[in-house]
Symmetry: C2
Subunit: 181 residues, 2 copies
DNA sequence: TTGAATTGTTAAATTAATTTAACAAAAAAT
DNA sequence: ATTTTTTGTTAAATTAATTTAACAATTCAA
């Protein structure tokens, strides 16, 4: 478990704490911190929990925290990655999201556009806001027509479907975590 | 660590495995499974990893799998939760995000609006698309003016700042995972 | 330049996790 | 019915994590 050690050391350093300071806050021995950081022990969950708690970091955060660090933060309108699919065009913020947790899309549904059915069952969570037009959204047993200003959010494991039932383009800004494609 | 035990037991049952079957696949003793499930031991990371690996479940999944399940999927424009803060108004999709991983906001920056500085260091990831107006965004050492159609995305642990440097309202749809407030 | 405090490491001692091996209870097989 | 497996639990034995307490190296003060 060398990897955990490296992560912990990095985390400790960003908080500017010494092994002993961290040990005191977490109520563990400083030796434990040293041994874990060097991968010379296989820490118990309880020990690691006390340490992470004292750093205000949850297990989920700690294990999902493989920070992406491209230095690209800004995207001009024409730099958005276009992903076309039939009558729907998706403009994605960022191109390679493989190390990312968040996907943001500017979506344009042409009249008659229809996603068909469930985009699979990712353990994901998604939502969006309608900016223009008319969007029929189905989630589980529920169906709704959303107009400009309306919004949706649900767990992506539920079967869902999007349709533009209007006669003009429908525009939506959506987000999904983790990315769905 | 009673909670880990309950989770593991539930997970094992959904896969239809007995303690011994699981133990064999994970190459651990069946006693360990029993002790963990009853919270009578504080398992080591390595032991738990072997068990989860054999179930094709990552640590991240194991700890983040607290599915939210409100049956509320749709939000009319006037149902968005307004969170005002000085010259900025945030319209949030959903009210209680405590069990959620995703926060979606419709943001309106009045002229002169300024977030000041770093919204702290959440181990989060955020991004957004500018729909209207002029937004100055600072991330780390970089500063950019974004106009309608432009976008941003970055790791929220970087110091960042938003300012409306135009003379009209600026509108942005943003997303953040996990929610920042 | 000296002394005090703080750093990270590590052997030895202690405590606890993990396995081995046994047990009883329940289900399956003959 | 009765044997044979399979189930989950647990004491005892073994192995390993964790702490205590020491060490040398570095930084800070005066």
């Amino acid at each position: 478990m060398q990897n955990i050690g490296l992560k912990l050391k990095a985390l400790r350093n960003t908080k500017g704490l010494s092994q002993r300071k961290l040990a005191a806050r977490a109520n563990v021995s400083n030796a434990s911190i040293s041994l874990i950081e060097h991968g010379r022990t296989d820490p118990s969950m309880g020990l690691l929990k006390r340490i992470l708690d004292s750093l205000d970091v949850s297990f989920a955060e700690f294990f999902s925290a493989d920070d992406f660090d491209d230095e690209k933060y800004f995207y001009r309108n024409d730099e958005l990655s276009e992903i076309s699919s039939g009558l729907i065009s998706y403009m994605q913020v960022g191109s390679d999201l493989s190390k990312s947790h968040l996907q943001i899309l500017y979506e344009r549904y042409h009249p008659g556009a229809d996603t068909g059915q469930s985009m699979l069952s990712h353990n994901a969570e998604e939502g969006g806001i309608v900016l223009q037009g008319r969007l029929e959204v189905t989630v589980g047993e529920q169906v709704q027509i959303l107009l400009a200003g309306d919004a949706y959010r649900f767990n992506s494991s539920l079967p869902h479907r999007f349709r533009n039932t209007g006669n003009k383009d429908c525009i939506v800004v959506s987000a999904c975590t983790p990315p769905s494609f």
